[in-house]
Amino acid sequence: MDSGGGEGYAVDDYESLMSTTDVELLKTAWRNEKAAPEILKFDSNLVQRSRQLIQFMEETVDEFNKNGVDPLTVSLYQMDLDRTMFLLRSYLRTRLQKIEKYVFHIRKTAELWNRLSLKEQQFAEGCAIDLKDHLEQSVLSKLPEQYQSHLRQSAASEDDDMVPEPQLDAYVVCRSKRYLGAFQLDDGGEEPVNIEADDLYALPYKSIKPLVESGQIDLV
């Protein structure tokens, strides 16, 4: 790309940064998060690196602007920056929306709770309090005493039977980067599925969950 002699080194730097696959990784994380019914593990390193990358891209664009580089070039860089920004924002946003939706479930399930970043945990804490207060004020406080829990239907319930949970048996579309061989869906009685590289499959999320978590398979 022609960008004038003066900032050749910046371009080199930029190219080398772009060639690391952080943006691609972010895209994958984002896609998985979008498609999975439950919340996935927060990739704090990746987010950290993406933010550094974004900052660097911003600086580059600013520098280009200052040095009067061809506007078309600048706008291409700007567009790339905007796209990366979108990915990051949308990734964080999708997670927050899941937290909002399943806040009680996430809060009482240690496994899910540990998947959140520290700040997300704070957010979830706040969310849960807000929602609980709201439910209590509008409904629960007006009901008879044995029926006032926001997690249980009544004092007679043995465990929390009124917490919305994500539907883990929902079907998701997924694709593997490499051949994984025969894979047994856990419903039993069914033929194992042969997972080929780069083929699309629609499978219940529950059965491929371990593959998603270990990064062997990507959701689309």
């Binding site: 933010r51 706008s75 700007q78 567009m79 905007d82 796209r83 920004m85 979108f86 990051l88 924002r89 949308s90 964080l92 946003r93 927050l96 929306q97 909002e100 939706k101 700040k119 997300e120 704070q122 957010f123 706040g126 969310c127 807000d130 929602l131 207060d133 709201h134 439910l135 004020q137 509008s138 409904v139 007006k142 009901l143 008879p144 029926y147 926001h150 239907q153 009544s154 007679a156 009124m162 919305p164």
Partner: protein, 223 residues
């Protein structure tokens, strides 16, 4: 019929457009709550009856163990049967009231919970200020909830130092063409100072324009 009012609430929510809110149905809501308390009023004496009868039954048994004549034994058998059937009928009555109460609770909760979800989604779109025509549809606690939740969200965004309510759609072009719908006046945007007068058609940075678009002060022109 028990539980019919509560169904109305849920039906009302289910039949409204997804993502849209209708006015909070205070009237039916209060009626269902009343019904719940009515159930409790029925429930409590029934539970007490059951308790009493069970005690009586226990007394009878201990009397029997003390020993009694054939005649007395026959009488006591009959009495026991009577008490038992009284317990049974009270139990079924109590169960009906208990289950109706549960059902009403679930309906009320579903109504409030699902509305809360819509309200939260609005929070993503309008950035902490609700338009008036929506606000008047909410109940008092719902307004409160919206504010609190918006604050929680704001503090998260402040923590991560990233504004999350912009960029809702994937960007195609850094600049978009917009028409200004309201007299906004002179504003400092990220790359220029612009005079946003009504009906002006401008070329703005997407991130700048987005906040105005969500507030309905601008519209995007797609060619």
């Amino acid at each position: 019929m028990y539980g019919r009012k509560a169904t109305e609430l849920v039906k009302e929510f289910a039949s409204s457009e997804p993502g849209q809110l209708s006015t909070f149905n205070n009237d039916v809501f209060a009626q269902v709550l009343e019904e719940c308390n009515g159930h409790l009023l029925h429930l409590e004496p029934l539970m007490m009856n059951i308790q009493e009868n069970e005690n009586k039954l226990r007394d009878k048994r201990s009397e029997e163990e003390m020993g009694m004549s054939e005649d007395e034994r026959g009488n006591s058998e009959a009495e026991k049967m009577l008490i038992q059937s009284a317990i049974k009928s009270d139990q079924f009555g109590a169960l009906i009231h208990h289950l109706s109460l549960l059902r009403n609770k679930r309906c009320l909760m579903a109504y409030v919970y699902n509305r809360a979800e819509v309200i939260r989604n609005l929070g993503w779109m309008v950035d902490s200020v609700l338009p008036e025509e929506i606000e008047e549809k909410l109940s008092g606690t719902e307004k409160e909830y919206f504010k609190k939740h918006a604050n929680t969200l704001q503090s998260y965004m402040a923590e991560v130092d990233l504004h999350l309510t912009v960029d809702m759609v994937p960007p195609k072009d850094p600049y978009i063409k917009v028409r200004v719908l309201d007299d906004i006046g002179e504003v400092v945007l990220s790359d220029q100072v612009a005079n946003l007068a009504r009906h002006a058609i401008m070329f703005l940075r997407r991130t700048d324009a987005e906040q105005y678009i969500t507030q309905g002060q601008m519209e995007e022109l797609t060619s």
